[in-house]
Amino acid sequence: MWLLKNSVKLLMPLLMALCWVETAVPAEIRGSVNFIYNGIFTHGTGTSNQPIAVAVLPVGGKKKLRLKKQVHQVKITDNRILPSFLTAQRGDQIVFANMDPVYHQLFSLSNDTPFEVTLEKTETGKPKQASLSLEKPGTVHIFCRIHNKSYARVDVLETPYQQIVTSGQPFHFKSLKAGRWMLRLASPVAETRLIPVNAVTAPPPLKLELASHSGGTPLNNLGVRPAIERMYQ
C-alpha cells in the first residue's frame, strides 16, 4: 500500500507533463518564492519585503506569445518613483506622472532603452506626465538626475505571464500550455533566476528560493568625526 501510494506520487507529475505536452490542455504553474539572503552583510539581513517579479517565459524563445500592449502608470511622488519595480511587456508604454511640486528629470542608462525626460513640476494638482515606450526587452533602470533616491526598475519581458509577489506570497499562472516553461524570478535585490518548469494541470505549488544580496542594517551610529579623531590620538 505504501508502495502504491508513493508510486502514484512520484509518477503523477510525470504523467501530467506527458499529458500537457501531448494533449496541450490548459496547465498552470504555481508556487511561492522566498528570499534567501546571499549578500556580504551579516547583520540585519531579515526577510525582505521587496517585490519579486515572477514571470513565465517560453523556453528557448521559440514560442512567440501574443502580447497585448498596456500602459503602466508610474507616479513620482515625494521624490520617489512608485512603483519602483515593475514588469512590462515589450511594447508597453509607461506614463510617468509627476505628483510633486518639483521638477524631476528621469533618465535611463540602459543600452536598450535609453531615455531622458523632464517632468514639469505640478502646481495646479494636475500631474505632469510623460510617457516612455518599452520597445526592447531587458532591464531598464530609471533614475532621477535631481533626486538620488528616485529609482525604478522596469523589467521588459516578452511574455504576458507576469506577476509581482512578495517573499512567500504565492504566484499562480493559469491557462498555460502544458509543457516546459522558463520561470523567471527577478527582484531588485536579487540576481534574476531562471528556472525551467513544466506547466501541468493542477501542479503542486513550487517552493522556490531567490538569493538576495541586498540587506543588512548598520549596528551602530558611531559618529564619523569622533571616529576619525580617534585615529589621530
Binding site: 542608462l109 543588512g216 564619523v224 571616529a227 576619525i228 589621530y232
Partner: protein, 922 residues
Amino acid sequence: MNIEQKNTLFVVSLVLIVLVSISTVATLLIMEHVRKSMDTDLNRAREVFVEAQKNRFDNLITVARGVRAEPSLIAATLTGDITTVRGMLDDLFPRPGADFIAVYLGTGPGGVAGAGDRPHFSSPQILNSKLLLTMVDRLINGESLVVGNALIYDAMLQIVVVPIENPLGGQVGALLVGRQFNQTDLTAMRHLVQSDIAIFNNSTVLATSIKKLVPDLVGLNNQTITKTAMEFSVDSVQYSGRVFPILSQVSSSHQAAKVLIAAPHNLYWAPYRLLGKNAMYFSAIILLVAALFGISISRRSLTRPLKILAKAARAIASGDLGQRVNIGNRDDELGQLTDSFNTMLSALNDSHAALEKSRQRFMDFADSSSDWLWETDNKGRFTYVSSSVSSTLGVPAKDFIGRTPREVFADSRLGELMGLLRPADGVLKTFMDIEIWLQAPETGRHCLRMNGVPIVSHDKAPRGYRGTARDITKVKQDEKRMVLLANQDHLTGIANRRRFLQDLGHEINRLEVCEQTGVLILVDLDHLKLVNDTAGHAAGDQIIVQVAGLLKKACREEDLLARISGDEFAMAFPNMSEQYGIEKAQQLLESINALKPRLDGKAINISASAGVVTMPKHGNQPVDLMAKADAAMSSAKKSGRNKVILFDESDMSRERMDNQLTWKNRLIEALENDHLVLVYQPILAIASNEISHYEVLVRMRGDKGTYLPPDKFIPTAEQFGLIQRVDRVVLSKAIKSLASLPVEQSKISYSINLSGLSVGDPDMYRYIEDEITKNNIDPRRITFEITETAACEQLNSAIEFIEKIRRLGCKISLDDFGVGFSSFSYLKHLRADIIKIDGSFIRDIHNNNADQLFVKALVDVAQGMGMATVAEFVENQQILELVTSLGVEYAQGYHIGRPNDKLILKRNANTVEPKEASLAAV
C-alpha cells in the same frame, strides 16, 4: 674721573642694569612665551591637522556617497555581477576626490573590483589585503561607515568604506574610496596648520614640508609619542615638534604612519629677534639719553653748583673772602650746602674780621706794649719778635729772625737763657720771670724779665719757645732808687729816720763789740716854723737843704747823718769821745749860725739846738738813745736855744722820758677807755659841688673836755707799737658810724687812714673784712688812705694788700702823694683808685707855678690811669678855683669844711651828727 663722569657712569650703569634686568626677564618670559606658544601652536596645529583630516574624510565620505549614488554604480552593483561592476568602475574612474575606488560584492576572490590612479591599487593583492578587508569586514559587520588609513607601498591613503545601498532597500555591496595624502596635500595643509608637517613611517618620509628632512629619522622614530614637544635640528634649523600616530582604524593599535608637526624656532624668534634688535637700538638710545640726562642732571644739579662752590672755595683759599655763592633758588641738599657755605663764609668773614681785628689788636699790643713778644725754634733761633723790641733794645725786629739771642747780643752773657732755650736734656720747660742782663749794641745794658712756654707739636715734639720779654732796666733802677729812697730823705738826700735808726743799731752793736765809744747828736733848727709861715715852706726847705749840706760836710765817711723830722737832724759819730762830741756839736751850731741863707735877697739868721748822748754809755737801743738825745735837745731849746746840751741822766732825761711814757700811758688809757673819737672832714666833689665823702680823722679826748690832735699821740703810738691798735679802733668806729647813717645817706662814704705798719698786715686785712661783714656795709663806701711813703717802703706787700682790699670792694687812696718817692711809675704798681695830692703842693699853689705844673702833670697822669685826684689843704676859694681849673676832681680843706664830729653835708652849712660821737669842730 670727575663727579659728572661718575654720575653719568652711574646713571648709565643703572639704566644698563635695568635694561639688562628687563632684557633678562623679558628673555626668560619670551622664552617661556615662545615655548608655550610653540606648544600651543603645535597643539593647535595638531588640532587643525586632525580637523583637516576630518574635513578630508568628510570630503572623502562625500565623494564616497556620491560615487555610491551613481546610478551606474547602483545599477552595476544590483546586477551582482563583479565583472559588470569592474566594467562600470573603469568607466567611473577617475573620479574627482578619489584616488582609489573599489566595490566589494564579496570578500573573497572575485568579489571585488577596483580602479585607481595607480595600477597596483586595483591589484588583487591590494584589494584583498588584510588591511582593506578588515575595513570592509567592519562595514559588513554592521558599521554604517568605516574610515581608516592605509599605507600602500609609498602612498598614504585615507580610506572610507560605505555600503552600496539598494534604492529599493538594503545594502548590496561595499564601496571603498581612497584618497592619497600626497605632497600637494601636505603643502596645502602646511598653510592651514601653519606648521611644518611630515608624514613618515619608519625610515620613509611620505610627505614633508621640511626640506632636507633626512630619511634617517632615528630621533623621530625613537621619539616616544608624547604630548610634549621635542627639539631637533634639520639643516641647521632648529625645530620643536610633536609626533603622533596615524592609526589604521579606529580602535586599532596599528599605525599606518606617523605625523610630525614641527615649528621652526626661527619663525617664533624672528619677531623677538627684530624686537631685540629694535630694543637694542632703543636701549642704545635710552643709554645715550640717560647719559645725556645724567650729564645734564649732574651738571645742572651737582657739578655746576659744586664747581661754583669749588671755585668759591679756591677763591676763599686764596684769601678772597668777598665771595658769595649763588646757585639759584634750590631747596635740596646742595641748596642747603650753599646756604651753609654762605653762612660759613659769613661766619668766616666775621671770624676773619675778628681774627684780623684780633691780629691787629695783637700787633697793636705787641707794637705798643713796653713788653715785646718773641718766639724761637728748637735751636733757640728767633722766629718772631714784635716790633716794639726795636724801641726797647734799638735792634730792628728783623735782625732777630733766624738768630739766637747770643748771636744778636754777642757781647752779653746769655748762657742761662741759651740753656733754657736749648736744654741739654732736650726737655723744654716753662720758665717765668727770669731776669737776663744783656748788652745791646746801640742802647747799652738792659735787664730783661722773660717768660717762656714751650711750643710742642701735635706729636708732643718740642718746637721751641714763645713768650714775652720786658725791659725792666728802669724797674731795676727804680728798685735801686727805691731802696735808696726808702732810706733817704727826699728833700736833702741824706738818710731818713728809718735808715738812721737801722744804721745806728748796727753801729751801737759794733761799738759794743769793739768796746768803743760814739756820740749821737740831735740838731733841731730853731724857729723854722716861723720861716715857713713867713717865707713859705720853700724857704724853709731851702734852709733845711743848706743845713743838711753843711752837716754832711762835717761828717766823716763813717759817720751817720739823717733828717729825722722836719727840722731835726741826727748825727752819729763812732769812735768819738763824749767831750769831742760836745765840741763837735758846738762846731756844728756855729756853722749853722754862720750859714745865713738868703731869702728874697735878705740874709736871715738861723740857729739850732743840739742834744748829745754818748753811746753805748747812755743806752744801746737806738730809740732810747734818740729819746735821750731828744730830751737833751729839748732841754737846750728850753734853756734858750742855740745851745748844746749833753744828756744828763739825772734830770732832763727823766723828764723827757717820762713825757714819752706819759703819752704812751695816755694812749693806752685812751684805747682802753674809748677816748679816741672820730671827726669827719668833708671832701667836695668839685664837678657836682656835693659832699658825700669824708676823711675820718682821730682825736684823743683830753682832760677838761679838750681834744688832742693826732700829732700828739700818733708818733708815740708808732714808737711804742700801738699804731695798729689805733688803726683798728678808728676802723671799727668809722664802720659803725657809717652803718649808723640813715638810709637817705647811704651814698655817704668814708676815707680811713691806715698806718704803714697796718698796710700789708694779714691780720689787719681779716679785721677789715670781718668789720665790713659784721656791719653789713657796702665795701664801696670805704676808702683806705695809705701814704705813698708807707706803700713804697714795703712795695710788694703793699701791692698785695691793695689788691686784696680792692677785691674786697673797697677803694684805695694814696695819701700825701708827691712828697714821698714822687715817681709816677709807682702808680702803675700800686693800682690806687684815688690820689690825694699832698698839701705841700696845694697850700701855696696859687703862688707857685711849679706846684701848678706838678699838680697838672699829676692830674693828667692820674686821669690817664683812671684814678681820681683829691687836693688837700684847699683853704680858700682861690685855691679851689685853681685846682678846679687843673682838673682836680675833689677838694678837701678848711675852705670846704673843717674836721667835725658831725658830717658837714654842705660847704660850711648843715651838719649831721653821727650816733657814735658828738664832737665840736677841731
